[in-house]
Subunit: 312 residues, 4 copies
């Protein structure tokens, strides 16, 4: 369970209070506000706050005095138009603030997205909890040969068990020695009054990249969609996709029209080059293509055939 | 009056509806939500939406599960600490979205602040309203000799009247010819069916920099304070300070603890160099200072004396 | 001619000096360094400095100790791969610094690109030169009905002459009154010793949006390409495209492999949605399409047919 | 030694070639270009490229056609003025690109500075070298009680030896198991043909935060100074200050006038609040201060006395 009883009580207290507001409000998002949506073995995503909704995108695009438009159909048409034509600035007018708990090696990928605000739990200031990520056996895959950045088939049972044992015992030992160096037990009580204990900012360097950290992260809708385009993609590491998938669902609840436009015009489909379009035009005209006459690389030709559903 | 009756009706409709929310809510800001706060002769600032409050700054700084702290005094102490020590990231966790109507020459200063989101009314897409800024006589000041970027004493009545007459008649003529080139009257009706009318994206180039434009602008609290530090400053042009002063008051309503910390540790006071501090230590010890022995420039010496309230 | 003899002499002095460097150097860009490349009637682009070349993109992508790769063919392959897969960060490792002179209404579009550094000539600090943009008659086009943001056919000779006369006389009068209010002639000499003269920061509001301003602008290659994708596009206003076209040629000289990859994978071609690809697959299979069965809008269907070269 | 012979040969090859350029060139920086400046036990900073010099700051501030000013004294005066008055944009017109090797726990602090470009060595794509940070005994300090984020006195010899032994053995074991999971030895050769080996993107999670990573980092001078103000400060962790100190020296070589202005007006000295200035004025006038009458906190009063050199 990702939250302790104390933490859950704090969340429940927040969820128990409601206020009157004149601001744009999204009931489907209010429904899950503050809740810990579980990800991986100890991680979560919690929606802390949000600003705006689909209508706020329209309202900003029109620089309007009142609501954007009256009818949902008009809003959808405009949002589709904005998404198709890369008029991205109105999507910056909505914001999402989340609390995320995630393994450090995933946090290091996540933080590469610079156009967001972050407050991370400080391991200089406080001791880290003894929590680290151990993958499910189904996720323990071999290095891909075709894709230097990816995984391939799942490891056999024996190799898988050996890997899990190493990951667990090394992380446990690292945390154990972390406490020893700090001269503190897991509850931050002193262990040995005769020792000083190492500074937290130094002791942390012994922890593995699988250790969990947490942060508050605020991002506007445009930059969140950019994050999701890259991190909910099949080429992203499975562990960050687990977070991206939860966030995709949050976007679907929050701004359903924008979500649909995003899935249609940005995530789905494919970009064809001029040469790719020329190939398509010939194929439609019933001509055959001799790959040797193409300027594109063999890899691009394979990808184009896959995109067009062409089998040799 | 900055709003037309139709616009005011749209604003009233928005203000008439309230919703339930679990989000952090600021009653003092709800009170003025959507209202046009007048600035200059035709401009305004309207608060459209906001995210967070003082407690949200604390909550982010602590990466907490519930509210930041229980007591206002603790919140104030932490916020003062953050402000004094330039721990700026928690202030990024609050956002403000405003609708602004402002003269183009002020918009050009404003837009230099890059860390914000903007949607501007498009004069390619729509015709601009016939509205331009004419200063009050009290604002018509002569060029300062001491400060190449500033104003000095107010012009005499005769010169002042001549300037006002030119500003008005030139702007009126420019808008008149704008309509003529567009082949449209001020209500966007065709003037002469035998003419095509120039494209809007071209005709606009005839308008003066005093013409009003408008935009939606969204900024986080940290960057808003940076904007205010520069634009509510005595060195800023009076016209942009008029907007900054309204926004300062919005910040005071929205996040009063942050406002106080900002006024105390960022706006107020002065930065002294090492040499300046050395001078202070000597003065406290009762020594006298020979300016000829200082490395600082004569201008810096004058400023230091003013800061310390020293008269020759 | 965009430069005065004094300005040209300063440019020539800079061009006359050369230095030894160990840095990556691009002879084709050195060739045009500091020169004013003319744009519109009084504008220009001057390349002031640059950092990196195609090899620097490769070097950064590999985080290498020496040069990126040995062979141009390998560099091209990697650069194509990066461009196709939106691995954009290595393109941020090159920088371009330019000096631009441009009409204010174009500067207002340009500045919307936030991820760049700007120093603009200050009309608070100095008087503006008497220079304003007057389009060629071939550019004086009517408002498009199909595209609310665009131009259509060129105006007839009579309407065109009338427009040009208004643009010229209004701008001349505005500058004339600008000088009168400042109590300065065009060379910044006092006109009437009995008057104070209005502060520059106020007098400028009388100038038209066609007046020229100038700035230093520094941008990395990734963000420059993003700028060019939007501003060298057929939907951009013709006047900013004139600048973008000059910059495209600068990129071609500076980083020819990146330029080719950009033109192939980013500028050229088209994005098809999943439904668009489904249509293509059916057309290749010899099926016919009933537009009534499609979810896409009539406008999207027209665009898809145009992309695929299908005539009804 | 931070570089292998192969890496050193690549560096030497780069340093052996020089080119002609018309660009602003800084001989003192050319002197150290590409060299690995050692930091900590295995880290380094290498200057890869730079754009601009002190004169380029002046040139941009003046939006000039030629060089900024003729005389160094004028340049220094203007640069001091810009620094004192927070006119920061001209400092954005210079860029530095460096190659850094640093422990991951330091990289995580470093990356929080968002206004820079980064390309990091990918542990998804390639195996990490077996290198990790082990502090000198002189750096092994106890947790500070006064400052929750800092260190205090150095550990005693016995505790220090115990800590070092744990840091070393845990890191060695983690790398050993990393190789075992990857089924690769330290030179990336297969260990056991009967096993698949875990994907690199997963195996890396077993490594400690003391492991070294490396990246290319490009930043403009303004943002570099902001980085140095925070990271060369006494409150920064000693390990990142080691990097910041090397970079301070790079700035001193690169833009000596800017360096001096930075040390005088930004790093040195202190900010006094309005109340602090009031205290100073009273002290200069020979009055005594009763701390009980002050609004500032006891901590601020202690800090003010330290700043003014007042002893009780």
């Amino acid at each position: 369970m990702p939250l302790t009883p104390d933490q859950q009580a704090e969340v429940d207290a927040l969820r128990g209070e409601t206020y009157q507001t004149r601001r744009a409000t999204v009931p489907a998002l209010e429904e899950i506000l503050y809740q810990a949506l579980p990800v991986l073995d100890h991680g979560f995503v919690r929606v802390i706050d949000y600003m705006g909704d689909d209508a706020a995108v329209v309202q900003a695009a029109r620089v309007s005095y009142g609501k954007g438009t009256k009818r949902t159909r008009d809003d959808a048409g405009l949002i589709n138009y904005l998404m198709r034509n890369a008029h991205t600035s109105p999507f910056e007018m909505c914001d999402l603030k989340i609390h995320v708990k995630l393994p450090i090696f995933i946090a290091r990928q996540w933080i590469r997205h610079r156009t967001a605000s972050v407050n991370e739990y400080s391991a200089r200031y406080s001791m880290l909890d003894t929590e680290f990520y151990v993958p499910e056996p189904a996720q323990l895959a071999a290095q891909s040969d075709a894709n230097r950045q990816g995984r391939d088939t799942v490891l056999g049972s024996e190799e898988s068990q050996a890997v899990l044992a190493l990951l667990k015992s090394d992380a446990e030992q690292a945390f154990d020695h972390y406490h020893q160096m700090l001269n503190r037990d897991g509850d931050d009580n002193e262990l040995d009054p005769s020792r000083s204990g190492l500074a937290r900012e130094l002791a942390r360097m012994n922890l593995p990249l699988s250790a969990y950290t947490q942060w508050y992260w605020k991002v506007n809708l445009h930059n969140l969609l950019h994050f999701l385009r890259l991190r909910a993609d099949a080429h992203a590491q499975w562990e960050i996709r687990a977070y991206a998938d939860v966030l995709l669902d949050v976007v679907r609840k929050w701004t359903p029209l924008t979500y649909d436009a995003f899935m249609t015009y940005s995530v789905g489909g494919a970009h064809l080059t001029d040469e790719g379009l020329e190939v398509v035009r010939k194929l439609i005209a019933g001509e055959t293509i001799d790959p040797a006459t193409l300027k594109m690389s063999p890899r691009e030709w394979r990808e184009l055939k896959a995109t067009l559903g062409i089998t040799d």
